[in-house]
Amino acid sequence: MKTSATGAICGAATIAFAFSAAHAEDTVAVGVLQSLSGTMAISEVTVKNAEVMAIDEINAAGGVLGRQIEAVIEDGASDPAIFAQKASKLIQNDDVATVFGGWTSASRKAMLPVFERAGSLLWYPVQFEGNECSPNIMYSGAQPNQQILPAYDWAKAEGKESFFLVGSDYVFPRTANLIVKKHLAEDGLALAGEQYVPLGGTDFSAVIAKIRAAKPDVIFNTLNGDSNVSFFKQMAAAGMGPDKVEVMSFSIAEQEAQAMGASLVEGSYATWNYFETLPSEANAEFVQAYRTLHGADAAVTDPMLHGYLNVYAWKAAVEAAGSFETDAVRAAAVGLEVDTPMGPVSFAPNQSLRQSAHVGKLDAEGRFEILWSSAAMIEPEPYDALTFPGKTCGFVGN
């Protein structure tokens, strides 16, 4: 024990020394801020891996504006207050040019004022509920009209007429379902039920009884984390597995499906902007590169891809602007086309990403068979016109 501890300290000292020596004009520091511990670590560690992989690739290819990128990795510890604290620390102490990170809406909301005060820029990689628009955040994850509404449109086109909404009780499911309900009413379709379970909730007996009574055509599932396992287990025990009742999930990607046990969720649907199974050469290379680093069985998911593309989008914007200055970078990022494993994408003036949406069905290995893709790139809309009429991004057009 003792020798290894001493060894670790010596090693850390050497690295610290190497960093301080290299911290000169030929490097630029960026922050990587995800939860490396706590409940969210299972999902966020992989996003950190993807962000770091992009940084390493860029460094190997010569860096940004001739400077090597130095990643300062911080742990948000699944706690919004710590996210805010670490964001300040990155901006003030480490003098980073920009920060990549965040997952939960709570973590983003906690960091937002920090970035607005400091005039710095956060690249946020996860789908979210919209209804927010800050000039200091680049939102590459899906807006509601790029994930929830495409799923809704797909279900409608499949002839589904009654929808049952099940979600964890927090801002994303509540807002997402508000939007779905507005569209159900507009289209004259039936809301078969709407149920919320506390985050981490494990008892679904009443929810399942109501689903059985309502006999919906499809369930829209915005449950988060472990609750999904309880939900699918108890549905199966009640004789209503995914093969009998169709379930469309919004928080289950490849990683979660494989962690839960793919047999439990086999046959259920999900909508994302990226699936590991997207058929393109660029995607195959990306998946291969990640697996070389993190194991042949590693799952590659939508938020990971968005974390990865954020780094490349930042690099492209810095090079287009010829500067690391926040205002110059965000101005250059808008409309700039970036090549990614899911094809070329660009940010709209509201600083959210234009992207396609896909509906997939989970197979026995926890991978998605892609059933449907949106015909074209979908323009991001932070404020659904039916749900939040008249609201727009304040800064666009200024």
Partner: protein, 297 residues
């Protein structure tokens, strides 16, 4: 508006929830009733039972694994409970607040140990096929897992009742429960009785962990989601009474399930808390008042 099928189904679900509450709360009630120890690590005994079930499934797969898992989890959790009693609780027996903090510390240690050993992601226990069915009466559906859990709860209650009423150990427990000093004076080794009861209580929590694994994932924090309702049941039941605990579990199970006909799960939990608070205003001694010197200051 009130659908008879849904109502009948929820009555069944109420008993199903109550059976989980009973299994989770019995151990707490036992150790509080006898020793006035509030065991904050009780939820971790559930977790331990769940992980032991998972390990048993790995070693003896097959349809009968769950029947092997139950004694394994009972003994495993009882053993850890016994260790805890001997090393921590016994040494702090006259200082209730210190036991509260110390057992909370044990709870954190056990959670972190599970996280290190099995990872932060939950492990899954797949119910055997004979439990993965159910039967329908009219439009009512009864999943076998829920019936199995009810049966386990009834069996545990019956077994415990017999143990307390009919065995020599039960006699000793009742004696210590009524008056610890007199029991000790008449030659009963109260420490050994404490140890036995504590092991029994944690063992039942281990059993609860096995049946929980049929309904949800086993995670390092699984015990936390059941510990609060378990405390509610114990407080409402009258601190330490077995009959009170059972009655309170059934009342709370039905309140929770029936209110969910009208409310969603979040709101029904609020309602359940409000119900307990109001109930205790009118009947602070709980469903069944326990007369015991152990509970008198």
């Amino acid at each position: 508006m009130l659908d008879a099928t849904l109502f009948a189904g929820q009555v069944f679900n109420g008993f199903s929830v109550a059976s989980l509450f009973v299994l989770a709360a019995l151990g707490l009630a036992l150790s509080f009733g006898l020793m006035r120890v509030i065991n904050m690590a009780h939820g971790e005994m559930l977790m331990l039972g769940g992980y032991l079930a998972y390990l048993t499934y790995l070693i003896v797969p097959g349809p009968m694994a769950i029947l092997v898992a139950m004694p394994v989890a009972f003994l495993g959790a009882a053993l850890v409970g016994g260790l805890m009693e001997v090393t921590v609780i016994r040494r702090l027996s006259s200082r209730p607040l210190d036991t509260l903090l110390a057992t909370w510390g044990v709870s954190l240690i056990l959670q972190q140990a599970a996280r290190s050993a099995f990872g932060p992601i939950g492990v899954g226990v797949t119910a055997p096929d004979w439990l993965n069915t159910g039967f329908a009466i009219g439009s009512l559906y009864f999943p076998s897992t829920r019936i199995f859990i009810l049966a386990v709860a009834v069996a545990v209650l019956a077994g415990l009742g017999l143990l307390i009423a009919r065995t020599r150990l039960g006699l000793l427990v009742r004696a210590v429960n009524q008056d610890r000093m007199m029991a000790a004076a008449s030659g009963i080794n109260t420490r050994r009785v404490d140890l036995a009861v504590f092991c029994l209580g944690t063992g039942i929590a281990g059993l609860a962990g096995v049946v929980l694994s049929l309904l949800g994932p086993v995670t390092p924090t699984v015990g936390q989601s059941y510990i609060v309702p378990a405390f509610l049941v114990v407080v409402m039941g009258g601190l330490g009474s077995m009959i009170g605990t059972t009655a309170a579990a059934i009342i709370l199970g039905l309140v929770s399930a029936l209110s969910q006909i009208f409310l969603d799960v979040s709101m029904s939990q609020v309602l359940m808390l409000v119900f307990v608070i109001v109930f205790l205003q009118f009947r602070p001694q709980g469903v069944v008042a326990t007369r015991s010197r152990a509970l008198e200051g």
